[in-house]
């Protein structure tokens, strides 16, 4: 991923019509159900798409009624047009797409005490997601949706993300909900999930 400036330009074999399927209602229903599983059982990775899973997530959730921020210019112009969401700063957007290999470098919306749902959803692109121990940062998760605890490993995520995320989510009900995604799968880390760092491999 570091060599690519945009998600789609890095894989020219995927034509525009291939991406268009993310906007088809049947596909969006299936994608939403996968996201629903991911949010219900945090840390459990779910299959989304053969490629461009971040675009699949945004197509499922974002439209003209939401605000979107793409500080690293990861989306192609065509995808932005199709999403049709007003673009704004990551500090003010409801949905943010960000690179995981870089320091977050922004402070997303946390919501308010009366309306914590205004806290942002941040889609973070990483290299790999592994259930259990694997490459990258190894975390032990607990909290709602997790029976006892669950171990996951995230590859290609800058170490500063964990402390930033824990800072954003330190005052429940305020916080940020993360969706980590590689090219094919995603897992959700809602603000209620407690993340213990068990060290890097």
């Amino acid at each position: 991923m570091p060599d690519s400036s945009t998600l789609e330009r890095s894989r020219p074999m995927h034509s525009g019509s291939d991406l268009l399927r993310f906007w088809q209602p049947v596909m969006q229903q299936a994608l939403f159900r996968s996201l629903l599983t991911a949010f219900s059982y945090p840390g459990q990775s779910v299959w989304l798409a053969d490629a461009d899973s971040a675009v699949a997530i945004l197509a499922t959730l974002v439209d003209a009624e939401t605000t979107l921020s793409d500080p690293y210019q990861l989306l192609s112009d065509l995808t932005r047009t199709r999403l049709n969401a007003p673009l704004t700063d990551p500090e003010r957007a409801g949905y943010v797409i960000a690179r995981g290999d870089l320091d977050p470098g922004f402070s997303p919306r946390l919501g308010t005490l009366e309306s914590p749902e205004a806290g942002a959803t941040v889609v973070v692109i990483v290299d790999s997601l592994v259930d259990g121990e694997g490459e990258g940062q190894c975390w032990r998760l607990s909290g709602p949706g997790i029976e006892q605890s669950r171990k996951i490993s995230v590859g290609g995520l800058d170490a500063s993300w964990l402390s930033a995320r824990n800072e954003w989510c330190s005052g429940f009900p305020l916080g940020v909900d993360l969706i980590l995604t590689d090219q094919h799968r995603c897992l959700a880390l809602p603000r209620t999930t407690v993340i213990d760092d068990t060290g890097a491999n």
Binding site: Q28, L61, E65, L113, P116, E117, P144, G145, P173
Partner: protein, 302 residues
């Protein structure tokens, strides 16, 4: 709903699951936020549905935004599949969601929409329970202003609600809430558990299945995520109690049909003044009867 009625496909073609895709996307966004903030009443743009508010439009909109081809739905009204509300909602889904199927057996369904009951059989991680909610805010009985209630919820300030429970104990020696029992999720938000009896409230605690609660008129959706602590409000010295179904001798009543002594029972009155007890969950009761009849086929029932 007229059973022979068909949507006028030639003139107006309705979208799959009736709602348009923008409405569904908005509900889906709200559902994910509701799961992320367990118990928080997330606002959503409840659409006009072709049935009155109060007939399960909140739960129905959640169900319609979840449903896709291959899903199997069960609709429950007061434990039964064959009462008016359940039949109407089930027929509406059959009419507008081609490719989905419906069932009366909880174990076969992966989405269960219900009103007033949680099925007796333990739900699994492959199932989603959608509950219909008339009044989503447990603080409404103690604080009329929604603006103030939102602050109280955010601060997890439920002192006035506990005072109401205490007043019940002073007056009746017992917390006098038969259904919609206030329940605290994950140590923060207190929810209205929807008009399920007290008997069903413990089923929310550490449930393997996701529970979504939708209020159409009040335009709110909230969630009990799987494996989440759901603790009914009570006091250290006055514990939460569920319905015991004891007779005068103090023994647990049985269902007159399937003989279950663990289920929630309805008391059925007869015109001659006599009465009997029967499972409220008809799917569960029918299953048990069918199993007994096939096991003891040929045997004469006493």
């Amino acid at each position: 709903m007229n059973h022979s009625y068909e949507l006028p496909v030639d003139e107006v073609s309705y979208n799959f699951a009736f709602l348009d895709e923008f409405a569904k996307r908005e509900i889906r966004r709200s559902i994910l936020k509701a799961i992320s903030i367990p118990g928080y009443q997330t606002p959503y743009a409840s659409r006009e549905m072709p049935m009155g508010r109060g007939f399960g439009t909140g739960g129905l909109q959640l169900t319609l935004s979840l449903l896709g081809a291959g899903d199997t739905l069960k609709v429950i009204d007061q434990g039964a599949d064959d009462s008016v509300n359940a039949v109407n909602l089930r027929q509406f889904v059959e009419l507008t969601c081609p490719g989905t199927s419906t069932t009366e057996r909880a174990a076969e369904a992966n989405i269960i929409q219900s009103r007033h009951r949680i099925p007796e059989d333990r739900l699994t991680a492959n199932q989603i329970l959608v509950l219909q909610v008339p009044t989503p805010d447990p603080l409404a009985i103690v604080e009329p202003s929604e603006a103030r209630r939102k602050i109280m919820h955010g601060e997890s300030d439920y002192a006035s609600l506990l005072t109401k429970l205490y007043e019940d104990i002073v007056q009746f020696d017992e917390i006098a809430i038969s259904n919609r029992y206030p329940t605290r999720l994950n140590g923060h938000y207190v929810i209205d558990s929807s008009p399920i009896p007290r008997f069903d409230v413990p089923k929310m605690h550490q449930s393997a299945a996701l529970i979504l609660l939708g209020a159409g008129r009040e335009r709110k959706v909230y969630a009990v995520p799987p494996f989440t602590d759901a603790v009914p409000l009570a006091f250290e010295d006055v514990a939460f109690r569920t319905e015991a179904f004891l007779d005068h001798q103090g023994t647990r009543r049985h269902c007159d049909r399937c003989d279950s002594s663990t289920s929630y029972l309805d008391e059925i009155m007869h015109p001659d003044g006599s009465h009997h007890w029967q499972c409220s969950d008809t799917g569960y009761c029918n299953d048990r009867c069918a199993r007994r009849d096939s096991a003891g086929s040929g045997a004469v029932r006493s």
